[in-house]
């Protein structure tokens, strides 16, 4: 199967306040002709009204009234642009307010993280945090954008030093988190557009791709779990109860990982019963094989008790089920997370009650060290044990970004309290 038309790359950007992230995104949108004339005119008008010296491309991405008034970015914003070969979804994550929460949110769906550094400052504390969170969230690719090269006279030595520091950092991350993304470094001057869309004339010593060339070319297919065993969380049972199809019963869901074929032997979790796939249906007709990320409806050979929250898994390598979760949790609520707390855990299509059995230590994402603690505060990341009310088919997040991920939800208020990664 060859994709018809362009494919999709989701990337998250992370940067600190003045490293030129908004300018870089503005430049990417502008040079790829994704900024529209009326948007640009509105930004120019606002810049003039505010007395800015230049057209402030950051205004393209700061949408809310409060953001414009305060000159800060509050929330993750999503941007869209496309080239003939690929479409892009950019999760633009702000650098200071609710930093961890925003970065984790943006990185959770990203194929690639764009980490910016200012060439004059090099690898700083924020760079370490950005890289660590990208590694923690298992973003498969990182681009280190060494920006503002114009302010260091396009000096190759400065660039080489920064790349060396970043490599040392990613080596540390590799030790800490196991496998790590592939990393590509690109020297840039976003204000002038050097190596953003077009290759830089001022940096002939760099013979790699421009940022856009790299974004267009990076391979992401293998990151979506096609090579893993099948994992199919059941979302919804389809029973038309119509005269044409009185006995139809199909299990609708999105294939999280692997491929699923008609005739495959599958096990229903958590019950553990096995059967075979009798058919895979879509509105456009039956198909023989479903691939990861496809939304389909599966029919089974035998009538079993299967409902929302169950998982169909390849019988040959099904995940274990467990009532005990050991996870890294990113805490996003004002009230701290403490042992004994009663919460809800939302894992794939199943929501279960849970009790926090332990909060053992907190990870400092800057130094990559851990310290023992008894609770997690807002924007802390730490090791947490949870006992859930009924068994879940979980796998380590490092193995599977779908079956290894869960939300922690407040049962009383319904708010999302935290994000969990198993293992």
């Amino acid at each position: 199967m060859t994709p018809l038309g362009p494919d999709l790359l989701r990337f998250a950007t992370a940067g600190s306040v003045d490293d030129g992230k908004s300018t870089l995104i503005g430049r990417l949108l502008y040079d790829s002709k994704s900024v529209f004339q009326d948007q640009l005119e509105a930004v120019e008008r606002t810049s003039t009204d505010r007395g800015d010296d230049y057209t402030n491309l950051a205004l393209l991405t700061d949408g809310l009234r409060a953001e414009r008034e305060q000159g800060i970015t509050i929330d993750v914003a999503y941007r869209y642009f496309s080239t003939p070969v690929r479409s892009f979804i950019v999760a633009d994550t702000p650098g200071h307010v609710q930093y961890t929460r925003n970065m984790v949110t943006g990185a959770s769906t990203a194929d690639l993280a764009l980490v910016l550094v200012d060439a004059r400052k090099g690898v700083i504390e924020q760079t370490r945090r950005h890289a660590a969170l990208s590694a923690l969230l298992r973003v498969p690719h990182i681009v280190l954008a060494v920006n503002k090269m114009d302010l260091v006279a396009y000096d190759q030595g400065v660039y080489a030093d920064i790349v060396r520091d970043f490599t040392a950092l990613t080596d540390d991350l590799r030790l800490r988190f196991g496998a790590l993304p592939d990393v590509t470094a690109i020297p840039m001057a976003a204000l002038q557009g050097d190596n953003v869309v077009h290759r830089s004339v001022a940096m002939r010593w760099y013979d790699g791709p421009s940022l856009l060339e790299h974004l267009e070319g990076v391979h992401v297919e293998r990151d979506h779990g096609e090579t893993r065993p099948a994992r199919f969380p059941v979302q919804y049972v389809i029973r038309p109860m119509s005269t044409e199809r009185p006995d139809y019963r199909g299990y609708a869901g999105t294939l999280a990982s692997g491929t699923l074929r008609v005739g495959d032997e599958v096990v229903v979790l958590p019950s553990g019963r096995s059967t075979t796939v009798a058919g895979i249906d879509t509105f456009d007709g039956p198909i023989e094989t479903a691939v990861a990320r496809q939304a389909v409806t599966v029919r089974l050979a035998e009538e079993l008790d299967v409902s929302r929250g169950d998982m169909l898994a390849a019988a040959a390598s099904a995940p274990p089920t467990s009532v005990q979760l050991d996870a890294t949790v990113c805490w996003m609520a004002d009230a701290p997370l403490r042992p004994g707390a009663r919460v809800l855990v939302k894992h794939t299509t199943r929501t279960v009650k849970a009790i926090v059995s332990a909060v053992t230590d907190r990870v400092d994402v800057t130094s990559l060290t851990s310290e023992p603690v008894g609770e997690l505060g807002l924007n802390d990341i730490g090791r947490v044990g949870l006992r859930v009310a009924s068994p879940l088919a979980v796998e380590p997040y490092a193995v599977d970004r779908t079956t290894g991920a869960f939300l922690v939800v407040d049962e009383a208020t319904g708010t999302t309290l935290g994000a969990g990664m198993v293992g």
Binding site: P6, A42, D182, E221, T254, T259, A295, L344, F406
Partner: protein, 307 residues
């Protein structure tokens, strides 16, 4: 820095396949987790695509929720006819909530100039309350407008229907949190990640029927504030505004009194795709007078409970 290791050749999904699957996933989550969803259907292209996705999500069963139209009374007749025809074809229940009823009951007052878009919020919230909908699907896209760029797939609304953009739930992976108390509801935007171009490429790919006014046709028009307005009972030329006949199409179809046409020769979805790919003006900038009010016009309306 090392180059990426060699990649095995694997089956790939196109961007439209991925967007389609994501939208279907979202719609199934809602059908599974909510008691009474409703789908806002105006007969505009985005809601038509959303309805097509709903049909795919639940096939071979029927769409398990009603369609809801907030009717400004300022309609293009082709769009109303399309709405009724499509609902009948699907055997879907169509609930119409009329802005005129709220005007007649004194709950809202007509504004000078006759724009009814801002008035729709009251009617929409009344429809949600009367239908006791706990989830309402809308066809809004994040690329439309900068306040919408901050929207979630599952957007929490309080008992007054209000959106609090500074205090939204984080949305991670494809795990959507729809918990809410009675009286509160969730707006769901399955097309969040679609762009105008994606919508048209999908309409072309799937052969989806849309109202005829989306394609080039001869129409009597006049120009007001730089916008090309068709002569209808809801938009009549004022003294000094000259009526001419031009080849136009609509990029959006909303309140007929404030929705502008664009000059275009595009007569098929494929020609519209080419035109949208080349255009330099956003669809709202080209065609919506109500968004020109201020930089934050959409945000302000949305906070009140607008679509």
């Amino acid at each position: 820095m090392t180059a990426a290791p060699p990649t095995p050749v694997l089956a790939g999904l196109s961007q439209l396949d991925v967007l389609e699957a994501e939208s279907i996933h979202v719609m199934r989550e809602v059908a599974a987790e909510f008691e009474r969803p409703g789908l806002l259907f105006s007969g505009g292209k985005d809601s038509i695509v959303m309805l097509h996705l709903a049909q795919k999500a639940f096939w071979p069963a029927r769409i398990p929720f009603p369609l809801v139209h907030v009717d400004t009374g300022h309609n293009f007749p082709e769009v109303l006819a399309f709405r009724d025809h499509r609902a009948a074809e699907l055997g879907a229940r169509l609930v119409v909530a009329a802005v005129q009823d709220d005007i007649d009951a004194g709950r809202v007052r007509e504004v000078p100039g006759g724009l009814r878009n801002p008035l729709q919020t009251v009617t929409l919230l009344r429809a949600i309350e009367q239908g006791r909908y706990d989830a309402v699907f809308g066809g809004a896209r994040r690329d439309e407008e900068k306040a919408r760029a901050k929207e979630r797939f599952f957007s929490f609304r309080d008992a007054f229907g209000q959106w609090d953009p500074k205090n939204q739930r984080p949305e991670l992976w494809n795990l959507y949190n729809g918990r809410h108390a009675p009286g509160e509801h969730i707006r769901v935007f399955p097309l969040s990640n679609w762009t105008e171009l994606d919508v048209w490429r999908y309409i072309a790919r799937e052969g989806i029927e849309v109202p005829s006014i989306y394609f080039a046709h001869e129409r009597e028009v006049f120009v007001r504030d730089g916008m090309v307005l068709g002569v209808t009972e809801h938009s009549l030329p004022r003294p000094g505004e000259t009526v001419t006949t031009r080849l136009v199409r609509y990029r959006t179809v909303g309140d007929a009194s404030c929705t502008g046409a664009v000059e275009s020769p595009a007569r098929t979805p494929e020609e519209v795709v080419d035109e949208v790919a080349a255009t330099r003006i956003t669809e709202r900038g080209a065609t919506r007078a109500d968004d020109r009010a201020s930089e934050a016009a959409m945000e302000d309306r949305k906070k009140e409970g607008y679509f």
